[in-house]
Subunit: 199 residues, 2 copies
């Protein structure tokens, strides 16, 4: 039984439904909302509504966008023959921050994960195959996380798109910048040795 | 520089403005909102708007309510001659849960705290004095936290309302239920000895 007004209980419940927010935190956040000036609370509500309604997936690369097609797919300055496949929009942001890549993207919105009942049909694989099938793409770079699920997904996709004659590459694995050999894990050192390059 | 749609950045910023929510958490929450069915995202936005607009302070006891006056102040079953003074609406909920108290409340919405520049005029002291001045109240129970700020506030209020001939009491201090003497702090043991009762 609660001793707060129904609207407050409802807000606490909503906050508690967010991932990683427990009941006590939800209560704290709800009380904070009550303490806001009315305009700011309204802005918060509008921001949720607005984000959910205006943000969608680009019909080409599946990245989040508020225009269709997205700014990267639209830009004539980007190399349309090069596509970088990533797991999530956050990865696009990470690669863009590095200012090294000038091609387009394809966001899968997940990776194949039998443990979590996520198969190829649950992520945007078909959309990628369709893009490759159109024949304008020369190279697809797999930029998935270097873990079991990422590797599995990369191999699966690679098998699907190679028949179209596209070159499939993946990000180099090895020592991260600034690493200290002493503290790098065995798997990374092994990959760095395997992938050694002539100087 | 951000690489997300503006509406998403805006939502991340709003979440990050909440107390105890950092940038990475805010980003996680905003992405979660995007993943919700449209109806649920709208419900969330509405819950914020609704809570902020329908919840106000009871004009008598200052507790949060969506009716004026609140259910407790309105109830003929509660003893109107007994008022329990608490720091926040959460304390009302805590006392109600104990099902021991049958009087009304007065919520201060804070305690006097010179360190945080909160003086008597910043909390609902005047409203309490006005209630007591009307003459219908026989006993005021101070149920503030047993720390320096709570004690100071209780003493300050006590001095203000005693001249009206009202009885002022405070919650008993001593061992919490189920405590193990071995692990109880010195101050609590001292208070339990001071306040010892005949069996």
């Amino acid at each position: 039984m609660s001793f707060f007004p129904a609207a407050l209980d409802n807000l606490v419940e909503k906050f508690a439904s967010l991932p990683g927010v427990g009941f006590k935190s939800a209560q704290r956040l709800a009380f904070y909302i009550l303490s806001l000036p009315e305009g700011e609370a309204k802005d918060f509500a509008d921001a949720i509504y607005e984000a959910r309604n205006s943000v969608r997936c680009c019909s080409v690369c599946q990245n989040l966008t508020d225009t269709d097609v997205c700014a990267i797919c639209r830009s004539p300055a980007r190399n349309a023959k090069l596509v970088c496949v990533v797991q999530s929009p956050k990865d696009v942001a990470a690669i863009e921050r590095a200012r090294e890549y000038n091609g387009r993207y394809h966001v899968l919105h997940g990776v194949i994960s039998p443990m979590n009942h996520i198969g190829p049909d649950d992520i945007r694989v078909k959309e990628l195959v369709d893009r490759v099938a159109q024949g304008d793409i020369e190279e697809v770079i797999m930029a998935l996380n270097p873990d079991t699920e990422g590797e599995t997904t990369a191999k699966y996709i690679s098998r699907l798109i190679k028949p179209f004659g596209v070159k499939v590459t993946r990000l180099a694995h090895g020592l991260p910048a600034g690493a200290s050999l002493e503290f790098v894990d065995d798997a990374t050192i092994g990959q760095a040795i395997d992938g050694r390059q002539e100087m």
